[in-house]
């Protein structure tokens, strides 16, 4: 019987785990169970008797190990390592254009001057995202954030973009993991219960360093709560982004204009730090219509070097949050901690109103900050030196700016449409900074009720409860 001149199998015994699946595969009985322990592996590799082998390769297809049974022609080179063929030679002309190594930068495109727009808050965010270069939006309908997604569903197909109404928020955040991991800007609109569902995914995005913008138009909780505006997810956004060592920039707009401006900014920050960014609005901001001026330019996004894009230049990339070895995971956490420290040092933002000589300082964000501003004006009219300190970043809390103001301040009043989560952030920031604050009191309403200006004013003039 003549033996065809096809290459025969080759086995480096140290890569054989001795499973013997190849034995049954061989129609000619060329393989037998081994008898000798391999000293390198402690396993018993299969033995080859190739006199009768015709190179059918069926044994190769039964072998579960990439470097187990291979063809003789694939024997490793003299350096002992395996040499792969040059993919260019192997696969010929590429039908996918290759991006050059390194980041492909964003293009900034000038916009003509436009008349001021009159926009609902969620629409302002959607238009901000379009101007920031976002063409991929994933989400699940939830009041009171849905209008933003609806506008995206209308506009994006006309820009050859994508809006996908996912089966759940869980799926939506993981679609963001995919598109963000491919290096493109993407976002979601959600509200409190939906944000809860996204937290697992957020932890993965943060762990794998995937950018993405999350708009949470907060509503009343816990549980199903109601759809009225409550600032009850500050804890989640600042302290509770899923499991593990997670942090994300949390931006708190207070006007329709800021809804747009901070959204544009959120995309830039998200890519600068390779980290999700959270925009926390309240139900009022989501629904409120007001004046919005457009910026002078828009973005055509580039492609970062780390993207898993699906071309040769990015083939070596990996988006992953798993690091099995403890030392690897510790090193990754230290890397994340350095990033968080950089964000905390560079990205604190605050809007101060009459803080220069303030003795009574109101701390408030989102819509309650607007009422607080009115109360500050009223207090000033009554001769009280009041000021408003409005954190625009809730994490990092703008503690540096507060530290400068505090020496003159006799009393802090935290105003919240929520159960005290902003006050917790304030107290934590003060504590971490080692600052002994003046007495802190608060004006709070829950359940979707905004603290009325009169209550804030009363709290400014005579605190109901002062805790230190």
């Amino acid at each position: 019987m003549s033996v065809p001149a096809r290459p025969k199998p080759y086995l480096d015994p140290q890569y054989c785990k001795g499973c013997l699946r190849c034995i049954e595969a061989c129609p000619r009985g060329c393989l037998t169970a081994g008898t000798a322990l391999n000293p390198a592996t402690g396993l018993v590799p299969v033995e080859l008797h190739l006199d009768n082998c015709n190179g059918c390769t069926l044994c190769l297809q039964a072998c579960p190990e990439p470097y187990g049974l291979r063809l003789e022609t694939d024997r490793p080179g003299p350096d002992g390592d395996f040499v792969l063929e040059d993919p260019a030679k192997l696969f010929g002309e590429k039908c996918v254009p290759n991006h050059s190594e390194g980041d492909l930068p964003d293009d900034r495109i000038a916009l003509p001057p436009c008349a001021p727009m009159v926009l609902k808050g969620t629409y302002a965010i959607a238009i901000g995202a379009l101007l920031a270069g976002c063409r991929h939006v994933y989400g699940y309908p939830i009041t009171p954030s849905t209008e933003g997604a609806e506008l995206m569903a209308k506009i994006l197909p006309r820009l050859n973009g994508v809006f996908v109404q996912a089966v759940s928020e869980v799926a939506a955040v993981n679609m963001m993991y995919g598109t963000g991991g491919a290096g493109l800007p993407c976002m979601t609109f959600t509200s409190s219960p939906g944000f809860s569902l996204m937290l697992e995914g957020l932890s993965y995005l943060i762990g794998a360093e995937v950018p993405g913008v999350f708009v949470n138009i907060m509503r009343g909780g816990p549980g199903l709560g109601n759809i009225a505006p409550e600032q009850a997810d500050i804890k989640l956004a600042c302290r509770g982004l899923g499991h593990g060592n997670t942090r994300a920039l949390v931006l708190a707009p207070s006007t329709p204009q800021e809804m747009l401006d901070l959204t544009v900014e959120a995309f830039a920050l998200s890519f600068r730090y390779r980290n999700p960014v959270i925009i926390l609005g309240d139900g009022y901001l989501g629904q409120m219509t007001g004046q919005v001026r457009l910026p002078g330019s828009m973005i055509r996004p580039g492609l970062p070097a780390w993207a898993v894009w699906g071309d040769r230049a990015h083939r070596h990339n990996l988006i992953s949050s798993i690091a099995l070895a403890e030392s690897d995971l510790e090193a990754h956490n230290e890397h994340l901690n350095r990033k968080y420290a950089a964000i905390a040092a560079c990205e604190q933002r605050v809007d101060c109103h009459r803080c220069g000589d303030a003795e009574v300082l109101v701390i408030a964000c989102n819509t309650p900050a607007r009422m607080a501003k009115g109360a500050v004006e009223s207090a000033r009219a009554q001769g009280v030196k009041a000021g408003l300190f409005r954190p625009v970043t809730l994490w990092p809390f703008p503690i540096d700016a507060l530290a400068e103001i505090l020496p003159r301040v006799r009393r802090l009043v935290v105003v919240e449409a929520g159960p005290g989560q902003l006050e917790d952030e304030l107290r934590l920031a003060l504590s971490h900074a080692g600052i002994a604050p003046p007495p802190i009191s608060h004006v709070r309403r829950c359940g979707g009720i905004l603290p009325p200006e009169a209550e804030i004013l009363a709290g400014l003039l005579a605190p109901a409860e002062v805790r230190t």
Binding site: R21, D81, L159, N160, V164, V170, G181, G183, I319
Partner: protein, 476 residues
């Protein structure tokens, strides 16, 4: 030909034997499936274009081995991640590789919903009837009677029957190709290779979603030798999970996505922005001296369909166009249609602070309920306008407010379109409480109707009718 890395540098940093050996147990079906997938990628010449999504489960480390773009997904979410990659870069060849816990248990919603979308991605489902990485627990595909660590007495009826994913996916409309294959013999392995290659080819050609269920061996947790495990798959698993093609549609290539647009004209046009010539806007009119404050609140209250929201937005737009600050906030009842519909509007000379209107300077009530609910919130010196066509017996109204019963509905009906009663109301408000210059309000009306110019005369007439009615209204 292979699509494996020449060196597994991610596997324990590529130290020692791990540089060329997998983490899989001896005889694991994953290894065989990996070699099949590697061969398909190499033979199709798509190594550069491939993005492989690794699941959670034993294949979590697939990215150690495949020299392609890699993304590692959360448990069960691989199809969602795959979709995100495919939509980001439609030219990429995206493969979701998942085990039975990942795909058929925790990820069922993603599995089914994304299969039903039918976008061309390739899902490879390794079904070995047991949880491997967590140590041998019951899988959704475990066989009846099968002993696992969480079914120590065998899978009982109350634990459900094994879930037949290939059949389930095949009955969806989205997929074009579904096949169940096995790895226990040379013949089945050859079919598996063909199926994987075909599934990827369908994606490459833009024909659609394909799902290959691969019945595989887990000798370790079956507590069998690899040979026994092959025999068990062949005799037991295949009985519960019949092999073969479950769906194979002939579909012409259809999937193509043009590149996203980033032209200012398109973005601005679709956003409703209007480029304007660079000229100084006209200075806002001086804040009217008759107003009690620099920030005036209005409440427009009625039922869905009364036009309260439209009127509120018109007022807001006109004020912003004038150069003031203004806000409008809607508030609805839980009904999608026909429930309460309120709007709070603020117009401020410089900045609206409190955008809610708990004590509006002017109330426009379109029905009796709204009038009864909000009349008392209007402070002394304020205005209460209500639709006297519908509210014929008004409740006692607070003293010290200017009460204006105006027949919004009748005046609108006289113009032939009862739905313009909200514009009648705005005309009445203009007469009762002139805050904005009238030409500004009319110009705004013209602007919002620019796409329906035929409606402008009607609306202008409604505004004029409301305006004229105030002079005629006898203070109540």
């Amino acid at each position: 030909m292979s699509a494996f890395y020449g060196r597994f540098s991610r596997h324990a940093h590529g130290e020692g034997l791990k540089a060329h050996s997998t983490h899989y147990c001896p005889g694991c079906g994953h290894g065989v499936a990996h070699r099949d997938l590697s061969a398909a990628i190499a033979e199709l010449g798509i190594q550069d274009r491939t993005v492989l999504i690794s699941p959670v489960g034993c294949a979590v480390f697939a990215h150690y081995y495949f020299d392609v773009g890699n993304s590692q997904a959360a448990h069960g979410r691989a199809p969602a991640v795959a979709l995100g990659h495919k939509l980001a870069h439609p030219e990429a060849v995206v493969i979701s590789y998942q085990g039975d816990g990942d795909l058929a248990s925790i990820g069922l919603a993603e599995t089914i919903s994304i299969a039903q979308l039918g976008l061309p991605i390739t899902v490879l489902f390794i079904n070995n009837a047991i949880y491997g990485m967590t140590g041998g627990q019951l899988a959704p595909t475990s066989l009846m009677g099968q002993k696992t660590t969480t079914s120590p007495d065998g899978r009982m009826p109350a634990m459900g029957q094994p879930l037949k994913m290939a059949e389930l996916i095949a009955q969806l409309d989205g997929p074009v190709y579904v096949e169940r294959v096995a790895l226990y013999s040379a013949r089945e392995r050859a079919k598996a290779r063909r199926a994987i290659k075909k599934a990827i080819t369908l994606q490459l050609e833009g024909r659609g979603y394909a799902f290959i269920e691969i019945i595989a061996e887990c000798p370790t947790h079956l507590k069998m030798t690899p040979q026994q495990a092959e025999e068990w798959v062949k005799t037991k698993m295949v009985e519960a999970f019949p092999l073969g093609v479950k769906k194979d549609l002939t579909v012409e290539p259809w999937f193509q996505r043009p590149a996203p647009l980033f032209t200012p004209e398109a973005v601005l046009g679709l956003s409703g922005a209007e480029p304007c010539p660079e000229e100084e806007p006209r200075a806002p009119a001086p804040w009217p001296a008759h107003l009690p404050a620099r920030d005036i609140a209005f409440k427009l209250a009625g039922s869905g369909g009364d036009g309260a929201q439209t009127a509120a937005l018109l007022l807001t737009r006109a004020a912003i166009a004038e150069g003031y600050d203004a806000t409008a906030i809607p508030s609805y009842g839980p009904e999608s249609r026909g429930g309460t519909s309120y709007a709070d509007v603020h117009i401020a000379e410089r900045e609206v602070l409190n955008p809610a209107a708990p004590a509006p300077h002017a109330l426009i009530a379109f029905n009796a309920l709204s009038l009864a609910k909000f009349a008392a919130t209007v402070p002394p010196g304020g205005f209460i306008l209500y639709d006297s066509t519908l509210i014929t017996a008004p409740p006692p109204l607070p003293a010290g407010r200017r009460i204006l019963p105006i027949p919004f509905t009748r005046l609108a009906a006289e113009l032939g379109r009862p739905m313009v009663k909200n514009v009648v109301a705005l005309g009445a408000l203009q007469a009762a409480l002139p805050l904005l210059p009238e030409d500004r309000v009319l110009a705004t009306l013209q602007h919002v109707l620019k796409d329906k110019p035929s409606l402008l005369p009607l609306n202008a007439a409604a505004f004029a009718a409301g305006r004229a009615a105030v002079g005629a209204a006898a203070p109540a």
